[in-house]
Amino acid sequence: MAIVTPQRPEALAPEQTPSAPSRFLRRPTNTGVYGLWGWMTTVDHKKIGIMYSVTAFLFFLVGGMEALLLRIQLGSPDNTFLRADTYNQVFTMHGTTMIFLVIMPLSAGLANYLLPIMIGARDVAFPRINALGYWVFLAGGLFMYSSFFLGGAPNGGWFGYVPLTRNLPGHNIDFWVFGLQILGIASLTGAINLIVTVINMRAPGMSLMRMPIFVWMSLVAQFLLLFAIPVITVALFLLGFDRLFATNFFNVAAGSDPLLWQHLFWMFGHPEVYILILPAMGIVSEILPVFSRKPLFGYQVMVFSGIAIGFMGWGVWAHHMFATGLGPVAVSAFSASTMFIAVPTGVKIFNWISTMWKGKLSFPTPMLFAIGFVTMFTIGGLSGVTHGVVPADTQQTDTYYIVAHFHYVLFGGSMFGLFGGIYYWYPKFAGRLLDERLGKIHFWLMLLGFNLTFGPFHILGLQGMPRRIYTYPSGRGWDVWNLVSTIGSFVIALSILTFIINVIKNRKPQDVGDDPWDARTLEWTIPSPPPEYNFKEIPLVTSRDELWHRKYTEDENGRSVRRVVEAPASASTDIEPAADGEHSDEHGDEHAGDHAEEHEPHIHMPSPSYWPLLTALAMPVICYGMIYKTWAVAILGGLMEFGCLFAWALEPATAPEDLPQHEEHEAVPVS
C-alpha cells in the first residue's frame, strides 16, 4: 500500500463530523457534483492539472498578444503605435505573465497531472491544498490583470528595480507587488504538495532511482521553488511596506542601498530560471527515449546533473549584476560559477544526443518539439556562456543580445519542451490524439517564426540596441532586423493558431488505447483518460521504464524483444510483473485489458470542497484593501480568510456520504 494510511482521528468519524460549515454551505460529494460546479470544487489532481494548463495557456495568449504589441511598436524606427508609458506597462506585463502565469503554471499543470500517475499513486498528498494552489494562482493572475482597468498595469519591469519601483506614482506597481505575493503562495503550496507526494507516495518498488526523469526534474524544480519563493516574498514585503507605509528599506535618501533589492530579486530570480527550464528538460528526457526506442542514455548522470544544476543555480545570481559595480573579486567568482553551470547542462545535451544515437527514430510531433528543444536550447546555452565572460557582458547586458539569450532558453527551451509534452501526453489527458499534420505545421511554423523573431536579436544586441526602449531612431543599423523580428512574431502567432485549431478540431472521441506511443512509463498502463482513482490496483514496480520492461525483454545482443506474442493493443499493458506475489490473489478481477465498467472498484477518493476556492478568493480582497488603504476591506478579507481556513480545518478529507458502507476501504490522503 503506497498511500500512507493515516490514523483516522475519532473526531473525523462520520457521526462526529462537525456539521457547522455544511449548514450554510452543503458539502459537495464525489457522487453528487457535476459540470462547472464539479470543476470548481474538485480536488482531483488530474482536473486541477487540466485547469492549471488551460488557464496558463489562456495567459499565454494574453502574453503573446502583448508581445505582438511590442513588436508592432518596434517594427519601425520612431514608431508611435504605443505611447511610452503604455509600452512600459506592456513589456512589464509580458515578462511577468510569461514567467509567472504561463511557464510556471504550465509546468505545474503537467506535474500535477502526471507526477502522481508516473509514481503509481492515486492522488497527491494534499488534494485540497492542491486545489488551493490552482485557485490562488488564478486569483493572483486576475488580480494583477485587473490593474489594466484600475488606472494602469505595472510599469517597472518584471525585475522591479528600486528605487524606480519605490518612486513610481499610481497603483501600478502595487498590483505587481501584491499580485506576485499571491502567486508566491500558489507556488509554495504547490511545491510542498508535490515534494511530499513524490517522497511519500511512490508505488512499491518505485525507488528514487527508478523514477521517471520528468518526476526527478520536477522534484528538483519544486525544491528550488520551496527555497526561492521566500526570498522574493521578503523582497516584496520590503517594497510593499515602502510603498504603503513609507518605510525606508529602499529609500536612498535615508541611506539604503538599492543593490539590496537586486541581490534579493536575483537570489530568487536565478533559481527561478531553472524552475522554468528543469521540467521541460524532464519532458524532453521522457519523449526522446520513446521515439528513439532506446532507454535514456546515462539516467544517473541525467538525475545528478539536474540536481547539480539545482544546487549551482543558487551560486550564480550576481551574473545579472555584472555592471552594478560589485568589484573585481565578486565579479570573478560569479563569472566562474556562471561558466561552470554550463557543464551539467552540456552533459545533458550530449546525453540526449546519445539517446537518439543508434536508435530507431520516428518523428511524430512530440519528438519534433523535443529535438527542437535540444537544438534551440543549445543556442541559448552557448550565448549564456558568453555572458559569463564579464568584460564582454558589460557590452551585452541590458541589450537585445540578452533578450535573444533568454528567449532561446525560455521559448526555444521551456516552451518547445512544454508543447512537446502537451502533444505527447494529450492522448492520455483527452483520450484522443492531436492531428499529426496540423501538429507538424505548428512545429515548423513555430521553429521558423521563433528563429525569425529572436535570431535577429543577437545581431541587434551586438549592434548596441538596449532592452526596454519603446522607440529608437533610424540610423543605428537596427531598422531591418527589427522589421524581420516583427514579421517573425506574427509567424509564431500563426503557429499558435494552428495549435488552437488542432485542439478545437479534434473533439471526436477516438480509441487511442492505453499506450498509443508504445511508451515506457506507468502513466501508459492506465486508460486514457485515466479514471479518477488512476490505478485500480497500485502497481508494483520492478524496474526503471517499468512499462517497457513489462512489454519487452532483451535478447543476447541487447536488442529489445517483445515479451508476448502479440497481445491486443489495449491489453498489452497487462503483463503481471514477475515479482508480484502479494497482489496475485486479486489478479482475477483486475484484468486491466477490459476497462468496461462492469463494477467500479471500491476505491474512494477525497471529496470535493468549496474551501480551497473560497480561501483563494479572500486573498485578492485583502490585497485590494491594502493597495487602496481601505482597511475595512482588508480586514474583511482577513476575516474571510480566517473563516475559510477554520471551516477547512474542521472539514474531513472525505465527506461522510462518500465513505463506503463497509469497513475495509482504501485509505485516502488527507490535507
Binding site: A84, G156, G157, Y161, P163, L164, V252, G255, S256, P258, L259, K294, F297, G298, Q300, V301, G325, S335, A336, F340, A342, V347, F350, N351, I353, W357, K358, G359, K360, I379, L382, S383, V385, T386, V389, V390, P391, A392, T394, Q396, D398, A404, N451, G455, P456, H458, I459, L462, Q463, G464, P466, I469, Y472, P473, G477, Y552, N557, G558, R559, S560
Partner: protein, 334 residues
Amino acid sequence: MRRNRRLAALSASLFLFLAACAQNAPQDTLEPKGPVARQIDHLINPVFIVAGLVFILVEGLVLTAIFKFRSKPGSPEPEQIHGNTRLEVGWTLAPALILLAVAVPTIATIFDLSKKPTNAINVTVIGHQFWWEYRYDDLGVVTANELRMPVGRPVELTLNSVDVIHSYWIPPLAGKTDVVPGRSNHMHLEADAAGEYLGQCTEFCGASHANMRAKAIAMAPADFDAWVAGQKAAAVTPAAGTPAADGAALFAQKGCAGCHTIEGVSTGMVGPNLTHLATRTTFAGSIFANNDSNLRTWLRNPQAAKPGNKMVIPGAPLTPDEITKLIAYLDTLR
C-alpha cells in the same frame, strides 16, 4: 578577420547568411574605437569562435542522428544502451576544460580593467531622469549630455545618480557601468581618434528610458583645451533692447531659473546647466539636434517631446512670441 569574427558571433543565430545586410551601426559593440572596448573585443572573439564550433558540433550530431538513425521499414529494434561511463566522464571534463580556458583570461581582464588609469581626466557623471550631467571638477566645467574628451587620454568616470538607477554606455569606447544612487561607481574610457561616439542609458529608468541617450565627442587635445577655456567663460549678457534680452527676462519670469543654472544668472539644480547650451550639438538627453526648430518644438510642449521628463513650464504654455525670444537668448549662450 572581422568577417570571421562576426560569423562566429552570429553562428548562434540561424541567419548567418543575412549578416552581410547589417548597415552602418554607430553603437556596434564589435567595432571598438578605443583601447578599453578593444580589450573586451579581443577577449570575446575567441569565445565566440569556440561557441560557434560547439554549436556546429552539437547541431551536426543532432542532424546526423536524425538522418542516420531514422526508422526504416524492417529495421531491427535498437540495442538498449543505458549509458557509457567513459563517454560521460569525457563530455563532463571536456566542457569543463574549455570553460577553464575561457575563465582564466576572463578573470585576468576583469582585474586589468578595474585598475584606475594613470594620467586620466576625472569626470563625474550624474544620471538624471532622463539626461546626463558631466562635472569636470578639476577643470571647473559643468555640461550635459555630451562628454567631451581629448583623443588618446583616458577619462576616468565617477558615476552617481540623483534619482533611480541608470547605466552609462558608449559601446564603441567601453562596456557599461550602472549608475546607482547612493553609490559611486567607476569606469574609464578612451578614444583612438577624434569623432562622435553614440551610446545611451541601458538600465530601465522610467517612461523616457529610450530617450536618455549619450554621446562622447573626442577632440584633438588642443581643441579640447580650447573647449574647456570656452566653457569656463562667464555667460554672455545680451545687450538691452534685443530679443535676446527679452528672452533673458522671460527666463527669470517663467520659472526657468528655478531649475536651470546659468552662471551669474541662476542656480537651479533640477535641469541641465545652460551656461553654454549653444555649444552643444544636441539637447534633451541627446535626442534632439540643437537647432531653433527643435528648441521651439521642445519649449512648446516638453512633455509631448519627451514623455515623463521633469521639465514643466509653470502657468500657461509659452506663446510663440515668448518662445522666439527665449530661443534668441539661448542662442547667445555660447
